[in-house]
Amino acid sequence: MASTNTSPEILEQVAAIASRWKGRPDMLIPVLHEVQAVAHNSIPKDVAKVVSYEMGIPIAQIYSVQTFYSFFSKEKRGKVLIRLCKTAPCHVKGTKEVLEAFESALGIKAGQTTSDGAFTLETCECIGACDVSPAVLIDDTVYGNLTPEKVDELILTISQMEVDES
């Protein structure tokens, strides 16, 4: 796992979340979702260790589970998660060109995070938006019928929403 230095404040929040489910290994996945949301969209080793201690689950088991599911990440990710669907129904409608537009607009490749920590760009499996393909899931919202031309505008809109929130 990536070596990391998560802040003590975040580790305290993680402990508070995980300690509610001591002795409930079945709650590991909901806990990892919750923990990830407070820890830079990631579950690095120091965070996993706290979850392990608080829930009484071996760290190897946590590693095994977190690396199985694509929505969990060991690496620190950006504030905004951009998940572009790369499966066939989007593929036949031009995902490749849309991905290139995202990469050039953000200056990163799929799987990377912008240097200011604002955006992470990922490709993902079907997001069930085949009626508006090609489609992207940005945090909890689906944006569909994408074209390379629409990507710049979309990123501007998302950036503006972030500014408004903070």
Binding site: F68, Y69, C126, G128
Partner: protein, 419 residues
């Protein structure tokens, strides 16, 4: 053929959250009838001929009877809302527009098999649905459609929402159960089947969203009514997902037996920009790819398989003449390679090998022996993989070789390092 809404009846016309609005269109009447004569529910479902709508088409009544006939102190109902098949989003629409019908179906099943706890396993890729389902569940609980003493019947049945974390294989019912238990979602060896030993080893009924949403109307209107819709061996309607290069992609409910041509031409509106249709992938990413000459195939489980198509979860992805089929196949196998859980060898190592072979065809370096190897490997996977993921992964390739042989050009003179 005309659109006929059973599962999606009144969907979109009423609030998805408020049970009072669902009740105003006849909602929860099926449950009221079921609690009056719980012993008749399974009889009704068996007589209706309803088959699972998640892709396997297993008779629902029979599945219910396995769980019902296994004595246990605790039983569970699990709604499989891990709709991960690329090219399928019909369960998403049902959950967005009429979630109470799913809860009602789950409660009917619970009464029939004697379960008091239900789970909805929702895929992580549908984050917006968490709020809708949680609010609708709270409303159903407040009005005693779920919770203690549902509809004043003396039955208890509650439903809990569980959010997955991004794994296609969790749509396989035993992998889903492992995931619900907090583990990696790897398929279990069967038997025992979940109906006998499922969640935490207890008898568990796992059904697809659409299957469960069919139960209220069957109980309310009776099996004879249901059998008038659809075909003899596949009664009822199907919520189809149309995607790819068509004018009107989306989700449409039609009686089973509607032809692919009707769905393509009348509903989907053909390919945009006057392009010609080249191929159709039927039944989702793991389904067969067929040529336009088979467009008159009725969407019915038996007729699809007779003709070389796949019914699956009722998905049709249309591919126009501008696409490269090898490119699409590469994309599909990349998907299965990524989503293979790694538990069984034929799937774990078979998919990367299939991918390498497809790429040989794509870059023009495949020989006749590669074609033979690809077919042999595909057949080994169909017969040897532990679960449906690996068993079905070669389908697109095997069907493409059958129907589009011209795509698989071999170059027997190619030598490694040459050309």
């Amino acid at each position: 053929m005309e659109e006929l809404r059973v599962v999606l009846s009144k969907a979109g016309d009423i609030s998805p959250i408020k049970s009072s609005e669902y009740v105003s269109v006849g909602g929860y009447e099926g449950l009221r009838k079921a609690v009056e004569a719980p012993e008749k529910v399974i009889e009704f479902i068996k007589a209706s001929g309803l088959r699972g709508r998640g892709g396997a088409g297993f008779p629902t009544g029979l599945k219910l009877s396995f769980t019902a006939n296994t004595p246990a102190d605790q039983k569970y109902i699990v709604c499989n809302a891990d709709e991960g098949e690329p090219g399928t989003n019909k369960d998403r629409v049902i959950m967005e527009e009429i979630p109470h019908r799913i809860f009602e179906g789950m409660a009917i099943a619970a009464v029939a098999v004697g379960a008091d706890q239900g789970y909805i396993y929702l895929r992580a890729e549908y984050p917006h649905l968490k709020k809708i389902l949680e609010e609708a569940l709270a409303d159903a609980r407040e009005h005693s459609f779920i919770g203690p003493n549902i509809v004043n019947s003396g039955f208890n049945f509650d439903i809990q929402l569980f959010i997955g974390a991004g794994a296609y294989v969790c749509g396989e019912e035993t992998a889903l159960l492992d995931s619900l238990e907090g583990k990696r979602g790897e398929p279990r060896f069967k038997p025992p089947f979940p109906g006998v030993a499922g969640l935490w080893g207890k008898p568990t009924l796992v059904n697809n969203v659409e299957t469960l949403a069919n139960l209220p109307a069957i109980i309310l209107n009776g099996p004879e009514w249901f059998r008038q819709i659809g075909t003899e061996k596949c009664p009822g309607t199907k919520v189809f997902t149309l995607s790819g290069n068509i004018l009107n992609p989306g989700v449409y409910e039609y009686p089973i037996g509607v032809t692919i041509r009707e769905l393509f031409e009348d509903v989907g509106g053909c390919c945009p920009n006057g392009k010609k249709l080249y191929a159709v992938q039927t039944g989702g990413a793991s389904g067969n790819i067929i040529p336009p000459s088979l467009l008159d195939t009725p969407m019915d489980i038996e007729r699809c398989s007779e003709n070389g198509a796949t019914f699956g979860a009722g998905d049709l992805m249309f591919i126009d003449e501008d696409r490269c089929l090898l490119d699409v196949l590469e994309n599909l196998i990349e998907f299965f390679e990524h989503e293979s859980c790694g538990k069984c060898t034929p799937c774990r190592t078979g998919n990367p090998q299939l991918l390498a072979l497809i790429r040989k065809f794509k870059n023009g370096t495949a020989k006749q022996s590669d074609l033979e190897l690809m077919l042999e490997l595909g057949n080994v996977m169909v017969g040897g993989c532990l679960c449906g993921l690996g068993q079905a992964a070669p389908n697109p390739i095997l069907s493409a070789v059958r129907f589009f042989p011209e795509v698989f050009k071999v170059n027997n003179n190619y030598e490694r390092g040459a050309s």
